[in-house]
């Protein structure tokens, strides 16, 4: 078998045992890698109803056939577990040197089980596996943790770590790597923390098995250069992802004031032009020639790496239009190991709830200094910080008074920086994203606002969401590679079949990839069904406030417009019909047969019937 190492490393922290396992070629071809491997393993091995922060949960690190092989842009790793934030399947990807080193140690998957009796980190060096004491770094932020590990193992080592937020089990703690990389928004860092696992370090030297290594080497190196040239020509990375902030503001889709507003006259102060002007360094992932991490000096003079989601959620959404202060909040989130999107959304919800009299407190929109204090309290779970560390939905349930209506989340995961007050397709994208309110699966908003009619709830938008899910949440998550060369520079998807076939020796087409994507999405839905047997289509609805006429803009491009509930429901039905899911949004028995998921469907039916 080429393209896959065929090996899984399983580490049980309770028993301190290490097991090297193999997987079959059929497993490889069915699930391909990354998210595919992760969901299949978690579905098979986790008993429904387990405590996500208990020793029965498993933390999975998984890569795909492209991972670590020089080509555009193959530095990504998937981290996954049952989510403590949503109670469903949770994952995320991040750029990290672990990607290549895990494979060079001879593995495509690492499964961490149990719970260590004391703070621990895992060190892999080729065939050797060590469980080492992490007492010296427990309690430290991710920057100090990385520095400590770099000193021991060198800067070329692959490292994943958590900060204090993961240690104190914040439900939206992430896993961190490199200068500003983070992944696993639905609390994957908390799952590491619950296992007393501070970090994973890997250094490997083995070759990655490939069918045509010489051919791939020359093709991959050439294509990396081509992508870099296209980037330079287009100028994309001058502002990177934050180029889009000005556009969101222009079209009334910017998150402002807990998404109460859609645009703001001061938005220019934190836009891509200002970010580029303030740039002091640029960072990126391994195997990348369009590095998107723009670092600035924050209010305290530290280097803070920013992108659009960070700025949108910690800036305008909190009505903070001081880029250095946004940088400070971002730095603190990165250092504590909080997800910046959920942190911004949860703080904004808190300010909104105070503003509306649904709770009492001393935090107001625009107050950057108090926001910093609240992040510190959240990292320690002290005072109101204990509630902030649990995300907006739990906070709303504590406050009551209908505040859940404006907790800007789906399935418990806070939505990213696109205000869909009047963007039906993007609202559907958030609603049907398989881990909760992420933008990464189907970023349909530019299509929706430019190539379709914004007010349409027609099947064309459901089809576009599904098409993008197959590519972004499917192909790029199982191969595992970054979507940016394709999505931002137009690097053709057919290139990825060429890479895949050169590496594996197979002869797959894009249609094979789409079937794999559909299989993965179906299994993730079955995972949710097992955890929530009473699941229905309301799981795929955005927050109620977007349907509230009182929340409509009073001026600007979408004055008086809101989402219409009946029409959203019909759009959702279009989506289910395309996916061959039933009216609850669950794959039908017929579909599971077509996708080869008969055994998985039978396992699901012990908890909820399939139609």
């Amino acid at each position: 078998m080429y393209g896959w190492t065929g090996n899984i490393l399983r580490i049980n922290l309770t028993t301190k045992t290490v097991k090297k396992e193999t997987y079959s070629e059929e497993f490889a071809r069915t699930w391909v890698g990354g998210r595919g491997f992760a969901v299949k393993i978690l579905y098979d091995e986790l008993k429904p109803g387990i405590d996500p922060l208990g020793p029965d949960n498993k933390f999975v690190v998984a890569v795909g056939p492209l991972a670590g092989i020089p080509a555009p842009n193959t530095g990504k790793t998937v981290v996954a577990a049952k989510s403590p934030l949503t109670g469903g399947y949770g994952d995320g990807n991040l750029g990290t040197r672990i990607t290549e080193h895990l494979r060079r140690c001879g593995y495509d998957v690492l499964i961490v089980e149990g719970r260590a009796d004391a703070p621990t980190y895992i060190y892999l060096q080729d065939d050797e596996v060590s469980l080492l004491p992490a007492n010296e770094i427990w309690g430290k932020g991710t920057y100090a943790t990385h520095d400590w590990l770099y000193q021991k193992y060198g800067r070329a080592a692959g490292i994943l770590s958590i900060g204090q937020a993961g240690e104190t089990l914040s439900l939206y703690a992430v896993v961190r790597s490199l200068e500003g990389r983070a992944g696993g928004r639905p609390g994957m860092g908390a799952v590491m923390g619950s296992k007393n696992l501070k970090a994973i370090v890997a250094k490997g030297n083995k070759p990655i098995p490939q069918a045509d290594p010489q051919g791939m080497k020359s093709l991959g190196a050439g294509d990396l250069k081509k992508v870099g040239d296209i980037d330079k020509q287009s100028g994309w990375s001058k502002q990177s992802t934050n180029g889009v902030l000005a556009w969101c503001n222009e079209v009334a889709a910017l998150p402002v004031r807990n998404m109460r507003k859609t645009h703001h006259p001061d938005a220019w102060k934190v836009d891509g032009e200002r970010l580029n002007n303030a740039r002091v360094a640029t960072y990126g992932c391994p195997n990348c020639t369009m590095r998107c991490g723009i670092a600035i000096h924050d209010h305290e003079g530290r280097e803070s790496e920013l992108d659009y989601e960070n700025i949108g959620m910690l800036g305008p959404n909190l009505e903070i239009f001081d880029l250095e202060q946004v940088g400070s909040l971002n730095y603190m989130c990165d250092d504590y190991g909080f997800d910046t999107i959920s942190a911004g959304a949860t703080l904004a919800f808190y300010a909104d709830a105070i503003d509306r009299g649904d709770t009492q407190g001393d935090f107001k929109f625009g107050d950057a200094e108090r926001a910093k204090e609240l992040l510190t309290l959240a990292s320690r779970r002290e005072g109101v910080g204990n509630l902030i560390a649990q995300g907006s939905l739990r906070m709303a349930r504590r406050f009551g008074r209908g505040s859940e209506n404006y907790a800007m989340q789906v399935k418990g995961l806070e939505m990213a920086a696109y205000n869909c007050k009047f963007c039906p397709g993007m609202a559907l994208s958030f609603g049907t994203a398989p881990i909760g309110g992420t933008h990464k699966e189907a970023w349909v908003i530019t299509y929706e606002l430019n190539q379709a009619k914004r007010e349409s709830y027609g099947p064309e938008k459901a089809a576009k969401v599904m098409e993008l899910q197959r590519i972004r949440g499917g192909l790029f998550e199982f191969l595992t590679a970054c979507r940016f060369p394709w999505v931002e520079l137009g690097w053709g998807l057919e290139n990825y079949t060429v890479y895949f076939n050169k590496i594996t020796g197979l002869n797959w087409t894009l249609d094979d990839f789409w079937k794999t994507s559909d299989r993965i999405y179906a299994l993730i839905k079955l995972f949710w069904l097992r955890e929530n047997p009473a699941i229905d289509r309301t799981f795929d609805y955005p927050p109620g406030v977007w349907f509230d006429p009182a929340n409509a803009d009073t001026e600007g491009p979408i004055a008086g417009k809101i989402l219409e509930r009946d029409k959203y429901d019909s759009l959702l039905q279009h989506f289910y019909d395309l996916r061959h899911w039933d009216r609850r949004g669950i794959p039908t028995r017929k579909l599971t047969g077509i996708l080869g998921l008969e055994a998985e469907a039978a396992a699901a039916e012990k908890f909820g019937k399939l139609e």
């Binding site: 287009s234 994309w236 889009v244 000005a246 556009w247 222009e250 645009h263 970023w443 914004r454 931002e488």
Partner: protein, 75 residues
């Protein structure tokens, strides 16, 4: 007639400004505006008029704010 033009993202480096007012002939269309401000047609662009999508053939009106953007596809 006078049109306010805002360039989004890297396009501002291509044309040399991020936002300004320009004088254009009556009946100028959205796509003709791109030529007037020297935006390359090599890659597709998207345009809005006062925050709403505008088709290339639509005629501009005095006082319009036109935003020109590359096609972003998401962070």
């Amino acid at each position: 007639m006078r049109i306010r033009v805002k360039m989004i993202g890297p396009l501002m480096y291509e044309v040399g400004f991020s936002e300004k007012e320009v004088e254009v002939p009556a009946d100028t269309t959205a796509e003709a505006l791109l030529d007037l401000i020297a935006v390359s047609r090599q890659r597709p662009r998207i345009m809005t008029r006062n925050g709403r999508a505008i088709a290339p053939q639509e005629v501009l009106e005095d006082g319009d704010k036109i935003a020109v953007s590359p096609i972003y596809s998401g962070g």
